[in-house]
Symmetry: C2
Subunit: 124 residues, 2 copies
Amino acid sequence: MTIAQVAKKYDLTADTLRYYERIGLLPEVTRTPGGIRDYSESDCNWVSYIKCMRSAGVSVETLVEYVALFRQGKQTIPARKKLLLEQRAQIVAKIEELNGVLARLDWKLDGYEERMLKCEENLK
Amino acid sequence: MTIAQVAKKYDLTADTLRYYERIGLLPEVTRTPGGIRDYSESDCNWVSYIKCMRSAGVSVETLVEYVALFRQGKQTIPARKKLLLEQRAQIVAKIEELNGVLARLDWKLDGYEERMLKCEENLK
DNA sequence: TATTGACTTGGAGTTAGCTTCAGGTGATAA
DNA sequence: TTATCACCTGAAGCTAACTCCAAGTCAATA
């Protein structure tokens, strides 16, 4: 697949894909003899994984670390698993935080108009 | 309350509080005759609200808009409620997204070591 | 009264994560 | 073969959201 096709498939720009590769976020993508990127299925899976984790707010830095461990081979499997578990914990924490904010918003929204009117009457 | 006390209470820096005020994210904080900020309870409630919404990823721009509406008085109450409902919807969407990522991570983590070992054996 | 330390301002600097640009190369179609 | 794309690289530029700095002022203490 060309970079344009991958970009379209995962709703990223070609520039972002090249940027990810440059900073070591994607294992080196295979090239045609002419030097043009030709994404394999495995490359696509990496793109999918990275896009997914980025959407959850996992930092580019953390993902680079994960890819770097992957490149070093199987002796880093435990370290990689540890990283994944840390990411998981952060996501769980984030969900809890968002639920808290949601509760506060719902509390604020309950009878909002009536309360705000009263409140601003008092300020006169 | 002084800016340092408020900063400590809400775990923000004094610089961030001044920044928020400068860009219109906080209604103007009252001052001592000497020009030093003296946060009222109402000011603190704003800080608390803003910190809460920022932690949920609501942009500074959106919050500035909300504060601007608030300043214009009660005729903006419906508009403000609409903004709050939009923020709520975004947060709900974010929670759903995070739950999706969590599911993917859990799937990836299930039997991770065994699968990765097998997988990397195959690459030899 | 002098010192110390927290506070003030406007403006410049920083960080993450892209995004755009300039100048060039590869591939396909008339 | 020539035009027209999409693609390539390295480097500079951009945006959001702070964060830091310099130079000065206020307030409490010795």
